[in-house]
């Protein structure tokens, strides 16, 4: 297993190198750091000077190499808008984002698996039909609208109706001022953003899990398990579920990128200073170094997430390990 992981990590290095080049090139093509000088007097000279200073006149590969070697050493440059160190800005934002993703993915998986298995085992029951309807609703509902509804009905309305001092669930940040760590205050801040983040994933993943489970339940080895005289519970959870988790594990990896991108909406609505908000702010002012950092962190996140999915897959399915 360790060999398997080591190999996967090793193979992800060229992927990162290549994707970092593509990102770098793409951003150099679309964002011009000297754009802000265009309106100044003597623009032509000033821009030429700045281009030389920033190294923009050199070949793209050389520029990329310079940037990449610095990046690896942890020097991600300074922000064009705040002059702050991008490394520090990004790691601070990443802290918030990791929390959201961790809880979002964990809760999505648990709920989606539970719903999927239940619906499959009780196929066409009232509960199954109801859950199917709900999941269509979940898929169709835009997350920002869901977030606004959730704020209204889970936070604002109850506070007004019961004349509470503070809302049950907060919708600004991850902690009240002066608070930190894992406590009730944290949970009350986390509920709404995580709910927003999970609605669509739960809807999609639970459908996925249901289909996989139905597929597995009709497999020959399930019949064998029953023929041995195993209890229904054992047949479902030991024999069926383990096999039925495999497609979801792959799907989760595929959705990693979308999850990372989905943070932009959630973080903006709930004023959480994470990667999503960092990206939006940088995008609006063309803050190249921050955008580059965001892209690279996103790529690393997707790769790590896929690696994790592969490892879980390998643990669940012995056939993968031997290759």
């Amino acid at each position: 297993m360790i060999k398997f992981i080591a190999r996967r990590v090793f193979f992800s290095i060229p992927v990162l190198v290549i994707s970092s080049f593509i990102v770098f090139w793409g951003i150099r093509e679309t964002f011009d750091p000297t754009a802000k000088y265009r309106t100044s007097k003597d623009a032509t000279r000033l821009i030429a000077e700045k281009r030389k200073e920033l190294g923009l006149d050199r070949p793209i590969v050389v520029q990329w190499w310079t940037w990449a070697t610095r990046f690896v050493r942890g020097d991600w440059g300074v922000s064009a808008s705040t002059n702050g160190k991008v490394t520090a800005m990004t790691s601070r934002a990443l802290g918030f984002t990791v929390q959201l993703i961790f809880w979002g993915v964990l809760i999505s998986l648990v709920v989606a698996i539970a719903v999927g298995v239940y619906s499959a085992v009780r196929q066409y029951s009232v509960a199954d039909v109801a859950l199917t309807g709900l999941s269509y609703l979940g898929v169709a509902m835009p997350p920002f609208w869901f977030a606004l509804l959730a704020i209204q009905f889970l936070s604002v309305e109850p506070k007004l109706r019961w004349h509470l001092d503070r809302p049950i669930f907060y919708f600004v940040g991850l902690h009240s001022t002066g608070q930190s760590g894992f406590n009730m205050d944290y949970v009350r801040h986390l509920v709404l953003p995580v709910l927003t983040l999970t609605v669509q994933t739960v809807a999609v993943w639970s459908r996925f899990q249901r289909a996989a489970m139905l597929d597995v339940l009709s497999a020959d080895y399930i019949r064998t398990a029953r023929a041995k005289g195993l209890r229904r519970r054992q047949v479902i959870f030991k024999h069926a579920l383990r096999n039925a988790l495999l497609p979801l594990v792959s799907q989760t990896a595929v959705d990693a990128g979308a999850l990372f991108g989905g943070l932009i909406i959630t973080e903006s609505i709930f004023s959480i200073p994470g990667m999503g908000r960092l990206f939006i702010a940088a995008l609006l002012v063309g803050d190249v170094n921050v955008i580059l950092a965001w892209m690279l962190v996103g790529a690393v996140f997707v790769i790590l997430f896929n690696l994790l999915a592969d490892v879980v897959y390998g643990i669940l399915d012995p056939r993968i390990r031997v290759q």
Partner: protein, 335 residues
């Protein structure tokens, strides 16, 4: 009271509602099985052999409509609650499935899959359990059983998988072991080995065995009695000698003629295949279902009524041929 049969199947029928109509997969099958007996069930693929056995164990999908009666030691199994039926499965009646590759769980070690069959029915110490698993693997002829128990199905060869499946199903020394085409997917030498394993099990335990196959050759020398099925119906039932040497149904004759035989001069007589295709179970011909393919059927009487198994002479040899008396008149006299 005469000694009760171990397993008594009476008028067992299975229907599947489908979009195209009702599939009569099994139509009034009856047989009984005595302790220690080996019954062979033969018929072309699609004749309802597997469905009959799955119906006995209550393992058919819910939409299947099962009627008739199956009595195990006097207890009715049809309509029994699943949690009650569970206690009989694997312990009293076990079934080895046709396709060993897909019938083993790919993500669970073979040893654990066998162990589970034991712990489903009794409490046993961990130490005894693993010793028992290794013993079972040894019994079915798997080399290095201790090592093999820790492997996964994909690390086994086809023949070994089939044997592992057998080990799983004999773990509790069942009273009835149903083996559904246990050798079909295997090549000839492995086939012989698997049959040998079944023979050994029969000697070691007192299990009665139902050996299902589409190849009469497989059950020659193994079965005590043989049931021949065609299109979900039974067409002939008799001792192995009756079926092999005194067949009384044109379909059985057809199956026999398609066997390669040593006593047949090569070249002079080619292997016969029964002409035509088995009929659709959605629309069986009236009367005898074998009628369209039967070399003797040029007679009005073959068109109906639906033939039933009828005893031939005094022996327990039954045929469902409507013209059995005419077709086999000479043979009858000489036998």
């Amino acid at each position: 009271m005469a000694d009760e049969p171990l397993l008594e199947v009476t008028d067992l029928s299975v229907e599947f509602p489908t979009d195209d109509g009702v599939v009569h997969a099994v139509d009034r099958v009856s047989y009984s099985l005595a302790e220690g007996e080996t019954l062979g069930i033969v018929g072309e693929s699609g004749s309802g052999k597997s469905v009959t056995s799955l119906a006995i164990l209550g393992l058919l999908p819910k939409r299947a409509k099962v009627t008739g009666s199956v009595r195990f030691l006097g207890r009715e199994l049809i309509g029994m609650k699943d949690n009650e039926m569970r206690l009989l499965r694997g312990r009293n009646i076990a079934m080895v499935f046709q396709d060993a590759l897909t019938s083993l769980n790919p993500v669970i070690r073979v040893g654990d899959q066998i162990a589970e069959a034991i712990t489903a029915h009794r409490v046993i110490s961990k130490h005894d359990l693993s010793a028992r698993v290794i013993k079972l693997l040894e019994l079915v002829g798997i080399p290095n059983p201790a090592e093999r128990a820790n492997q996964y199905p994909h690390e086994y060869s086809g023949g070994m998988r089939q044997r592992a499946l057998i080990a799983m199903m004999i773990a509790n020394e069942p009273d009835v072991l149903i083996a559904d085409e246990p050798t079909t997917a295997l090549d000839v030498t492995i086939q012989a080995q698997v049959l040998e394993v079944l023979e050994r099990i029969k000697q070691r335990t007192s299990s009665a065995i139902v050996l299902i196959t589409h190849d009469l050759g497989v059950i020659a020398g193994v079965a005590d009695r043989v049931l021949v099925m065609y299109a979900g119906r039974q067409v002939e039932l008799g001792t192995a000698d009756d079926i092999f040497y005194r067949p009384r149904h044109p379909y059985t004759e057809g199956l026999l003629a398609s066997l390669p035989r040593l006593d047949r001069r090569s070249g002079s007589e080619r292997l016969h295949r029964i002409k035509g295709q088995p009929p659709s179970l959605l629309a069986l011909p009236p009367g005898c279902a074998f009628n369209p393919r039967c070399p003797h059927a040029k007679h009005k009487s073959c068109d109906g009524p639906r033939p039933e198994l009828v005893a031939i002479g005094r022996r327990a040899h039954l045929s469902a041929c409507l013209r059995v008396d005419e077709i086999y008149a000479e043979a009858q006299e000489s036998s």
